[in-house]
Symmetry: C2
């Protein structure tokens, strides 16, 4: 199943950091594409620089100023759509149905503040990660983590210049270009 | 196991929204306390207002300007400490150990940018939720979700004025004060 994340309602001034976290979370938790609406080149450039340095997980990093058109095209081409919302059905019920449906392509819509009604209608699944107010970053991470049953973490991206090795104490960082390993301790 | 979340390195101007998301995520995913360092009354007030409206999950919402002292006291009183960091040990290994250790009180430290070395040393577990850069909000959510094995979502807080019922389409909101249920559709 190939997953893209569509972030809608982004407000460049207000949402810069939250949207960056949404993009990085999409990448780290198993998505293959990130689409931002409306366009904000700074966010895309940030994600691209993470891909260059940390390795390639994303095949698409792009933006659109007509996100509803993007969703309609996605569905016309046979893709399915999840919309994350605190009003949606329970996440485990949704994931059971998604797995049975086993779509080749799944688009996950992540809104900022109020999401226009059309997205609720276009979504094959309106999904809540709990019915309490929290964070779209948390919702996306937990949705993907549960969908992939925890297997998406610690994958190895291709072409990484830098890599971290899990460590109880300190920071173990591998410089993939030099194939050397440095351990920093007490020098943070 | 009683869990508190300590957010350190908060910069009031820059981190306002991310720190709010950290606090709301702590609340929604099963923590019983949220401590902010340094102090920022606006964030605490926001969390308190969510507790008033959505119900009580948190027994402590407070701040400190000496977070390292807070951690030392916590340990002196027998509590255990997790520090979430992309450099840490793998989350599943850590959770296995935490469950075996079964501490009565667990403090989860969530940093902003660079975290001083002392926190790595004081932590009983330095834990990574993946070794890729993403978001402290995502890390906290997934750590708690895995620790509680998914059972923390959809708990019912006490004293809620408002409640959302999971729904495939639309928004089902219960006004707990009036005990009436309103369904909004197409009016978003």
């Amino acid at each position: 199943m190939k997953i893209y994340v569509l972030r809608i309602g982004h407000r460049p001034e207000r949402d810069k950091r939250i949207t960056t976290h949404v993009g990085l979370t999409a990448r780290a938790f198993g998505a293959k594409g990130f689409i931002l609406a409306p366009c904000d080149e700074k966010i895309l450039e940030k994600l691209k620089s993470v891909e260059r340095r940390w390795g390639r997980f994303l095949e698409i990093i792009e933006c659109t100023n007509s996100p509803l058109g993007y969703v309609r095209r996605w569905k016309k081409e046979g893709g399915k759509v999840v919309h994350l919302t605190m009003y949606g059905m329970k996440v485990d019920d949704a994931i059971d149905e998604i797995k049975k449906s086993n779509p080749q392509r799944l688009l996950i819509i992540v809104g900022a503040e109020k999401v226009p009604w059309e997205y609720y209608e276009h979504a094959d699944w309106n999904v809540s990660v709990g019915n309490q107010p929290h964070s779209e970053v948390a919702a996306l991470a937990v949705f993907l983590d549960r969908l992939f049953e925890g297997k998406e973490l610690y994958r190895e991206p291709e072409g990484a210049q830098i890599k971290i090795l899990p460590s109880r104490r300190g920071k173990e960082v591998v410089d993939a270009a030099e194939e050397s390993r440095g351990t920093e301790e007490g020098t943070l």
